[in-house]
Structures are given as C-alpha cells and as structure tokens.
C-alpha cells in the first residue's frame, strides 16, 4: 500500500469554534482591531465620537424648557455657572413655538372668535397611514382597506382646505366618468380610442361641469368644512403635504414616462425624452420661481391659480422626471427573456407590463425610488424661496420675534430631527420591502 493512500473511516463531528471567533471579543477583534492600522483608527474615531457626544449632551441637557425668552435662558445659564456663546440650548423656543413649526399659520383658535382647526391636518396625517397600510403592508391588513386608499386622495385635500364636500366628490366623479367611458369604448372599439376618449371626457367634466355640479349640490346639501386658505399653510404640515402629493403622483407618472421612453411610437418617445431631459436639466428652484411668477403670464387674466397647487405641479413634475429615470434603470436590468416569456404566453402589452415587467422593474428600483422620495421630501424646504412658510422659513419668522432673536441651533436641530425621522423611516421601510420581495437567488 502506498503512502498517499488514505481512506477516512469515521466522519468528524463539528467542534465549537475558539472563543476568539465568537462573542463580543471575537466580534471586536474581527471588526475593530484586526491590525495595527485598524486599531489606531478605532481608537482615534472613538476619541472623537466620545468628545462630540460629551459636548452635545452638555449643550442639550439644560433645564431651559420653561424659559420664555432668550435673556431668560441666559439667566438660567448664569445660575448654572456657564457662560459664553455656546453655554447651552435654549429649549424654551421649541416649547413655545413647536405648534407653529408644525402647522404654520393654520387656524389655531388663539384669537377670539376663531376655531382651532388643527385637528384636520392631524386627522389627515393619521388617515394617511391607514390609507398607506394596504399598499405598504399588503399581507398584514385586510384587503378591503384598499377602498379607503382610493378615497384618500379626495379626502385629504378636503380635510386640509375645507370647503364643500361636493368639490372632492365631483373631482372623484370625473375619474369614474372617464373609467366608464373607457370601459364602454374599449369593448366596442379599441383600447386606445377608449383611453383617449375617456381622458377627454374626464377633463371636460373637471373643467366645465365639475364646479357647476358641486355648487349646485352644495346649495341643496350644504355639507362643508370651514375653508382654510393656502397662505395659512405652513410648517412641517406644508412639507408633508407637498411631499406626499409629489411622492404619490410621481411614481405613476414616472412609470408612464419610463414606458413612454421605451415606446416604439416616435412621437411618444420624443415627448417623454424631451420632458425628462428638460426637467432634469433645470434646478428645482427655477421651476418654483416659474410656478410663483411666470405661470401667471400663461394663464388667462383673472384666473387665480392657487400657489400651493402650482408648487404641487412643479415638484411633482420634477420628481417624476427623476422617477422615470430610476425606473428606466430597473427596466433595463430586466433580461429580454422576461418580455419574450410574457409575449409567448399571449399576454398583451399592458398585461405584460403590469404582471411581469413592472413588478420586477420596480423591485429592482426600490433603492433608487426611495432615494428619490427622500430627496423630494427634503427639497420641499425650497418652497421658502417663493415665500411659502416651510419650517426653515418659519425659523426666520420666529427669530424676528425680539424674544428669540439670535437662536439658530435649537430650531434647526428640531427641524432636522423631524426630517430625519421621516427619511429614516422611509429608508428602513425600503430595506424591509427588499427583504420581503426576495424570492430565491437571482
């Protein structure tokens, strides 16, 4: 028998790994001290992190919640024996002004004879999550809830702006009308004709009939909420409203643009490419200026087109162009075989898109889509340049008050924290979604 011949007669059982491989010690060794260079980096970083934390906590941990002005805060610092520029945070400003940072000038009932209407944006915000639940957690909530999701886009503006209930109802009827026309014509003629006529019918309804219809019904059944004007909107509520509208609309519009960009029809393709490239080539601020000043030039004289509505349109268009490109990336990543598989089974274009292509393309694009969402949400603060009172612009208003003149960090820190909570939430949700949609390798 030769030396290299070997036959294992008994299989080895697995043994526990050495202590240096598992547990806290093992983890620290592998991740923090895996070489002299890494060890130095770890120590230096730890030093800075601790230093910053100590400074930050020292600054933030002060009993200034009940102060009613900056001078009062200074007195408190002196009693504590602190002095200097950054003696501590003056939290009194947040304690006093947080309602304003959240709601802007939305009717708060402070003045005699006015009502506190702030429950309406709060309710709209809470209902937003009810409406989102069937979309975000489709496997955990009753499927019937999706009907509420369909109603919500009409409910939200009514709650925020008030007015007669028949305005949102007639807006919704426009969609119903368009759909009925489409269904009727798609059966008897072709899908495309049905689609075009349906859209036209809906627009005719909205532009010419809807207002007559709603005012007629309002005079019969006067069911209304007290109206609130757009210029009273402000604060975080304004950011969320713009963000939700832009996010909610930019996804479907982005999908349509991305599909249009891939279309075989030259006109459709050119229009989509032109739109996307134009919007992406222009800063959002420019678009907002156009919304606030130039747009009036194109409007027939006398029309007063709500400023927030104009901002909605511009921010939505801006977000849609980016969304279209993100989704196009997802579409491009799909192998051609998926289209062929769908085609070979006899699915038509829309069925293939809806059932096969989009679910996969959107899944691939989730990180990009959520990044765009987060970007749009943060960009809503730009509306301050056209005079809307988003949270950042409100800080100027607050500092204009002699009591709080000179405060920066407390206000910006508070706003940053609120934005962070929302953006971080979106980011975590996207990770959850990606994990949930994982179906085996590839």
């Amino acid at each position: 028998m030769s030396d290299i011949s070997f036959v294992r007669t008994e299989m080895l059982p697995p043994k526990d790994p050495p202590a240096s491989e598992v547990g806290v010690v093992g983890w620290a060794r592998a991740n923090l001290f895996s070489g002299w260079f890494n060890s130095i980096l770890t120590v230096v970083s730890l030093y800075f992190v601790i230093k910053i934390l100590i400074g930050l906590i020292g600054w933030a941990w002060v009993p200034t919640w009940s102060a009613t002005s900056l001078p009062e805060c200074r007195v408190i610092f002196e009693e504590l024996g602190r002095s200097g520029h950054n003696a501590g945070a003056c939290w009194g400003v947040i304690a006093e002004r947080w309602p304003q940072l959240l709601f802007g000038f939305y009717p708060n009932g402070y003045e005699e004879g006015t009502a506190d209407l702030r429950w309406r944006p709060v309710l709209a915000f809470v209902l937003l999550f009810v409406a989102l639940a069937p979309v975000l957690f489709s496997d955990k909530v009753p499927a019937k809830l999706i009907y509420f999701t369909a109603v919500y886009p009409f409910l939200m503006p009514w709650l925020l702006w008030g007015g007669t209930v028949w305005t949102p109802v007639s807006a919704a009827l426009g969609f119903v009308l368009g759909y009925v026309v489409y269904k009727a014509l798609a059966q008897s003629t072709s899908e495309l004709i049905g689609l075009i006529v349906g859209v036209v019918a809906a627009f005719v309804w909205w532009l010419f009939v809807a207002s007559l219809f709603s005012s007629a019904l309002a005079s019969v059944v006067p069911l209304a909420l007290e109206s609130v004007e757009s210029r009273q909107f402000g604060g975080f509520m304004l950011s969320i409203t713009i963000g939700v509208v832009a996010i909610g609309l930019s996804l479907p519009i982005g999908i349509v643009l991305a599909l249009g960009r891939q279309s075989d029809l030259l006109i459709v393709k050119t229009l989509c490419v032109g739109f996307i490239e134009f919007i992406r080539g222009v800063p959002l601020i420019t678009l907002l200026f156009v919304a606030s000043t130039l747009l009036n030039i194109f409007m027939p004289p006398g029309t007063n087109f709500d400023i927030i509505m104009r901002v909605f349109i511009m921010v939505t268009l801006f977000a849609s162009a980016y969304m279209a490109e993100v989704i196009r990336g997802g579409l491009a990543a799909l192998p051609k075989g998926q289209y062929e598989g769908a085609d070979s089974l006899g699915l038509n274009y829309w069925q293939a898109q809806r059932l096969i292509i989009m679910p996969q393309a959107l899944k691939i694009s989730i990180p990009g889509i959520v990044s765009t969402f987060i970007g749009v949400f943060k960009d809503t603060t730009l509306v301050s340049v056209i005079g809307l009172f988003d949270p950042l612009n409100l800080t100027n208003a607050i500092r204009a008050d002699a009591d709080w003149n000179g405060l920066v960090w407390e206000l910006y820190g508070f706003i940053a924290l609120l934005f962070f909570v929302f953006c971080f939430g979106m980011s975590r949700y996207s990770m959850y979604l990606e994990r949930k949609l994982q179906t085996g390798h590839r």
Binding site: G337, Q338, E340, G346, T439, R442
Partner: protein, 263 residues
Amino acid sequence: MSELALDREIDRSKMKVSDEVAIQITDMNKWYGAFHVLRDINLTVNQGERIVIAGPSGSGKSTLIRCLNALEEHQAGKILVDGTELSNDLKNIDKIRSEVGMVFQHFNLFPHLTILENCTLAPIWVRKTPKKEAEERAMHFLEKVKIPDQALKYPGQLSGGQQQRVAIARSLCMMPRIMLFDEPTSALDPEMIKEVLDTMIELAEEGMTMLCVTHEMGFARQVANRVIFMDAGQIVEQNEPEEFFNNPQSERTKLFLSQILGH
C-alpha cells in the same frame, strides 16, 4: 452517436400525423437591417408532426421558430398558424400566441411568481379561466412533468432541469395545439437534459405537434418524424430521420453531421 438513454419503449400509438395543416409558411423572408437571415422559407407542418430543426450556429433556426409566434416579425411571405395569418394585427398575434406554446433555452420563468402562479397567470389573464380551475389544471400539468411538490416555491429555488420542466408545464397550461422548443436542453447539465427530454417525449407520445430546435440527435432519431437542416438562412435538406442521418444528400449536411456526431 448519442442514443437516448430511455429506460422504456417509446409508445408510438398516438404519434399520428394527420392531414390537417397546422402551420403553413410560404416564401417567407426576413432581414435584420440589411442582413438577410431567412431566405425563401417554404414549410408545411401537419397536425401531429414532430419536427427537429438542426443546423450550425447562426443559421437562423431560432429566428425561424420565433417568427412562428411573432416574437420576430417577417418582412415578406406568408405564415398561417392554425388557419390564422400572422400579420401586424395585434388581436391575431395574441390569439396565435395563446395557441402556440414556446419553451426557451433560458426558461424565461417569472422569478417574482411562484411555480403555481407562473402556470396559472396566462390562463387566468388571457383565457379568463377561473382561478380555481386554472390551479387545478396547473397542478395536473406539474404532476405530468413530475414536480407537483415544488408548486409553491419560486423559480430561483429550483434546478435548471426542474425550471425547464416548469416552463413546459406553463406552456401546456394554455392548452396549445402546437409547441415550439428553442434549444430547451442547451443550458442544462447532462443528467438534467434527460429529465427534460423525457418530458418532451411524453408530450410527443400524446400526439402534440412539436417543432424543436435541438442538438439532441438521439431525440431527433427516435421521436421526430422529420428532420430539417438549415444553413445560412435556408432550408438545405429535410427528410425522415433514418434517411437524414444514414443517407444525407447535401455536402453541407454531411459536414454538419460529421461534426456533431463526431466521426
């Protein structure tokens, strides 16, 4: 010569070629830009025929069978499938596609859907079959391809051979009258090739009309009733398998056979 390692006799009782015409191609031509890939193709396929299309790489085999369900457009000539002409009319195309099943080299299963959903999708949306019935039929065909226990898994969790059998089941769920195969075994390991070929043989035994692009000459010999040899976009030779393999006429066919059969 690679014989099929089939552990049973092939049952030929139902393998009958009828007089009914399934596919008729007349003077069909196709170009990719300036490149003439298919030249004057004339071919009549009767119901129940099992045709193997062979030929060197780039000869246009895939293009030919992809023209039959309009995955590729032909520019001249006429293709009749089950009496319906393939034209630009989308309604015709969708009708033909739902009657003609196709199996691809790379399976083209839908990775975001379970095996069962892959099989029920088209019946539900195209044929408007009720969900329950579609699922029953899907299970029936999954049993036929011997993977009913994988129904709730995703394609990514299956082996290549299993995926290809699912792809066959998925096509069968549409109750096609004709099946097209484009190199269904080329992306598979040898032991998986056998399970897929077994499935295809069973299909042939049931009298399905089949057009297969394949390099499995054993399959061609034992199952096909006609072998077509293509080169440079043309049908160069066609014959019964025995004649085709033992007595090829054209020089190109001889060369091709000597290369792939390795003598």
